[in-house]
Symmetry: C2
Subunit: 458 residues, 2 copies
């Protein structure tokens, strides 16, 4: 009997039917939203408690079996697939909202709670959790990948919205990071270390998150620009003016056309900005007026305001479905989704260079993005099975990453590294990448936590 | 010749007169704002460049000589004194503002730049650096201690205002963390790891900081309450209402009396709140009106508004001089300054328990604080040379720390651990403290970086 078989027997004894080696379970957990081949784990476990997670980790670590966390499977760089096999820890059963503390504007959740489930649960409290990556991701996954999305320009990324964590380390130790106080200066910021560590340092089993008060008033709008240059420069000017936008999204001409097809949006054939303001009634009105003035200077026209909840929901649903709309517009094409993030001053240059290069390639590649953060996405759509188009699309994505580095930015604003962007880590971080490796080795000397991802030699 | 002597010769050869073992230099760098005995280093160096810092570190590390960073010497828990001797690296000559990038709202500085010097330099740009701990601290020191202060309630602590660092590690390697992009999801958040690490992982030699636009309109006020309970509960209600205060400070009855003495403030004999709003003219007016309404519900009266710059400066100067005002009021008494931070819902309880206990002790101990963050300070003033009062004051400070832990908070919101609060680390962090130790050992296996502080076995 091999060591694996012994470990699997121990897991089966611990978990019963919540340990499985079925092909369908393995295949589900070997797949991702990205373009990687299916890389299934050897087994999948569905723990109910932190104590079970700790036991699972001890069993696997002793047998040198890789451990991969799994939330909703919505990550975009293959973070949760299993290139070296192992055991995938699926957190879907650990999906309880453990405590809502409205007076402290905090909530404590298990990692399998999705952001939509959390916000549904919070509805009656007048509070909400603001981080919105589009997909209905799990909060454990969002913390692990340092997710952000449309509202980060106002409310920050997961980095600033996680107050504390419970984590099972590679040796099975359970630790807690952070306190319930809003700030602290008592030692290394372990919360920020685990947020964004992509499961390579431990498995998150509980999260304490900051909540926001539902704004008294919300107003959203979409407006068109003659060209990309005008739209992006309007964003830069708005940011520099200090208007506290809650969202500001760039939508290119092609995406607007897909919205018209998929959601009968009736948008003009032009690049657009989609914006939202949160505040008091008077505050929102003032922000909207100032934005309209600034955007007008850059050629904005055809403003369509949405202050009713349903209109706003329709607007953001359209934005969140951009990926699906583009895919529908191009049957027979498969997506390579990538994101970069640059300093605000380089945003126009970065977007325009990228758009020009994509256009010259002949491959469809709509550009959208959370431009208030300097962050944008390309959805490259090479023909399925066309090796040359595939290679061209890969080259376009690589050039975007190189462009981000050249302009002082980062190769990913929010999608992360996973399987996809390891090759840029040394370029972006230099000797600091080795420091990440030293930390990894200190906390996971056996290298069992999500091997093949993020850190050198992993 | 001992190893130390050889190393000191090498440092003298490298730095000339910028290496010194003079008694006065050693004594200056063995002193602190806290109540610790003078603990001088064996030598002090004044580097001019990062390359020199790296050479200094290599020379000292090879000889196992401790290295302690020094900025402005304003830290409050003895972070920069030398309990095991060694070499203090004084960054006062590395005080250049290297680059102001208004279009990206960033600045890059050397660690010896003070926050006041930076804001003077920025005056013409319409931007400012918001973190304001009161003291004119160096930015390297502020990052090392994760400083915050009066404006953190709006703009965050150093954690959210440092975008990237250059750090010299214990082996002399120079790394850079972060990029110029507003966010990133490419690996461990090393910037957040070094911020708050109190010099135990490396020496910060350069910082890229986020800037804020100077608000169009600012309004500040002070108002009185019948009792502490009303004042603190007004803060809690204001926070929960979502009013975006730029500052909100609690000042107890005793401190108000000292302000009257030292600054002829003319305040009533009552606890006070000092507040400030930043925004557009209409926005500030609306915030002020709403605050006045909420505070009124808790008995606020005697509002004094300061919208002129000089009036506001006078108000905050008074607040920043609270420490000195209290000392002046009690000649012959020596201060023990301490801070804790609790969840907002526990703030009234924490402040009131603390005040009652201090009052019962008979030792003067004004309470002030950045109550918008749940953070408050006590300035305990035992009689110099009175062993019993000294012990009582120490016990009061210890009880505050225990109270913070009992209420789900942290033993320091912003002063940090340094020499003073090591004993609470295991209580606050449990097994997570050992994880800090593992990281320390991985990055500084020789233990040369600021030994005796923050991490276990250090």
């Amino acid at each position: 009997m091999t060591r694996n078989a012994e470990a699997f027997e121990a897991l089966a004894a611990l978990l019963g039917a919540r340990f499985t080696r079925s092909q369908s379970d393995r295949d589900t957990h070997g797949a991702s939203e990205a373009h990687f081949a299916n890389m299934p784990p050897d087994a999948v476990v569905y723990p109910d408690t932190t104590a079970e997670v700790a036991q699972i980790v001890r069993i696997c670590a002793a047998a040198e079996i890789p451990l991969i966390g799994w939330g909703a499977g919505t990550s975009l760089e293959g973070h949760a697939i299993a290139p070296r096999g192992g055991v995938t820890v699926d957190f879907n059963r650990m999906n309880a909202v453990l405590e809502v503390a409205p007076e402290d504007m905090l909530v404590t959740v298990q990692p399998g709670v999705t952001r939509e489930a959390l916000n549904t649960e919070l509805r009656a409290t007048g509070l909400f959790f603001p981080v919105d990556p589009g997909a209905n991701a799990s909060l454990g996954g969002m913390a692990s990948t340092r997710a952000s999305g449309t509202t980060a320009v106002r409310y920050g990324t997961m980095k600033s919205n996680v107050l504390g964590l419970e984590v099972v380390l590679a040796d099975g130790t359970i630790i807690r990071t952070g306190t319930r106080a809003p700030k602290s200066s008592t030692g290394y910021d372990l919360t920020s270390l685990f947020v964004g560590s992509e499961g390579t340092l431990g498995l998150i089993t509980e999260l304490t998150l900051k909540l926001q008060g539902q704004p008294e008033s919300i107003s959203a709008a979409v407006c068109a620009f003659d060209d990309m240059h005008g739209a992006v420069n309007a964003v830069i000017a708005t940011i520099q003016s200090g208007i506290p936008m809650a969202r500001i999204e760039f939508v290119d001409r092609a995406s607007a056309a897909y919205f018209n097809k998929s959601a009968s949006a009736g948008l003009p054939d032009a690049p657009h900005l989609m914006i939202e303001f949160h505040g008091t009634e008077a505050g929102v009105a003032e922000q909207a007026e100032r934005f309209a003035e600034i955007a007008g200077d850059f050629g904005a026209q055809g403003f369509r305001w949405a202050s009713k909840t349903e209109e706003r929901n329709a607007l953001w649903a359209m934005r969140h479905n951009a990926y699906r709309s583009a895919l529908q517009a191009f049957p027979g094409r498969a997506p390579i989704t990538t994101d970069i993030c640059v300093p605000i001053s380089k945003l126009a240059l970065a977007v325009e260079e990228t758009a020009a290069e994509i256009e010259a390639s002949g491959i469809p590649g709509p550009i959208l993005g959370h431009v208030g953060d300097g962050n944008f996405h390309a959805l490259l759509l090479p023909l399925q099975g066309d090796a040359q188009e595939w290679e061209t699309a890969q080259k376009l994505a690589a050039n975007m990453a190189e462009r981000a580095l050249r302009l002082g930015g980062t190769v990913s604003g929010e999608h992360g590294i996973g399987m996809g962007k390891m090759k840029y880590m040394i370029r972006e971080h230099g000797d600091a990448w080795a420091v990440m490796g030293q930390i990894k080795n200190a906390l996971d000397p056996g290298g069992v936590m999500n091997p093949g991802k993020l850190v050198p030699g992993n």
